[in-house]
Symmetry: C2
Subunit: 160 residues, 2 copies
Amino acid sequence: MVYGGCVPAHRPARIGFLLSQLGAHAAARFDDGVSSLGLTPQQAGVLRILGRSPGVSQRDLAERLGIVQSRMVALIDGLESLGLVARSRSATDRRSYRLELTDAGRDRLADVRRIAERTEAGLTAALTAKQRDDLYGSLRMLATSLGLDEDVHIGFRADG
Amino acid sequence: MVYGGCVPAHRPARIGFLLSQLGAHAAARFDDGVSSLGLTPQQAGVLRILGRSPGVSQRDLAERLGIVQSRMVALIDGLESLGLVARSRSATDRRSYRLELTDAGRDRLADVRRIAERTEAGLTAALTAKQRDDLYGSLRMLATSLGLDEDVHIGFRADG
DNA sequence: TATTGTTATACTCTATAACTATA
DNA sequence: TATAGTTATAGAGTATAACAATA
């Protein structure tokens, strides 16, 4: 028995519930933050991926974000009309676009990262630095063991 | 400096993202489970609360679950037609209902708890018992520090 | 006058499938 | 024939606000 004595061997299942509850809360706080930039969490996710992988197509992007191709159209339309993303035709396959951040898009991505760090700080304010690192390690191990991709994130939305 | 050396002092914000990602995954797995019982996660949530607090009104229930009163009507209608929940008029205030589990409802609640434990086991299979307990402690501390209620759970839904 | 439960309506978000242009 | 992008439409889920019965 590894249990330290303060936790019953048949403790009710709570980690799943807490993860779901905290995850919804974290997503809502991030939504609050990017809303102040005039962005949705989905738009922020597109900026993040384009920052790391310039030149991807709408189809690639849709697959990485776990959404349908047809939804990507309006998503990129919006970012393009904000001047944050630019479409150009691929030289090798004229059916597909090369998507890239504009200079303004790179600036906005930096804003998004600041928002993410501020959200993170607000979430974990009650933890010590060691607790934060341990938690990060456990969550990473969980995500890896469950085969969750670094980008794909079906649930990153507001939910109130 | 408390950092152990393996984590940079300016590590990017990831705990919020991981919480949101894992939370969505946990909710989706729980949804899979209760779907096999013919229930939605919301219906399962109602059963859970009624198991602990028999006799509450629809309004109380709506507030605890963080949803609107008007949505509760169809939710209870469904559970009533499944024979899992019973409405009776309150003796002291004939505007409101007393909501209670039926015998079948109690049986189904036991099924839901089994599903929750199975989901939990699947989620945390990669962790040692000590890691599980530490993680549980950290998540509890987070939820408490953020003022998250034990019942209210705006994000417990499918998301695919 | 305020509150519980109810209903009707409208709105948001999303997937599906049909369409075009290129390959 | 298959694929990238596009469009139109329909469906699910939701909140909003007006209503009846009771306090």
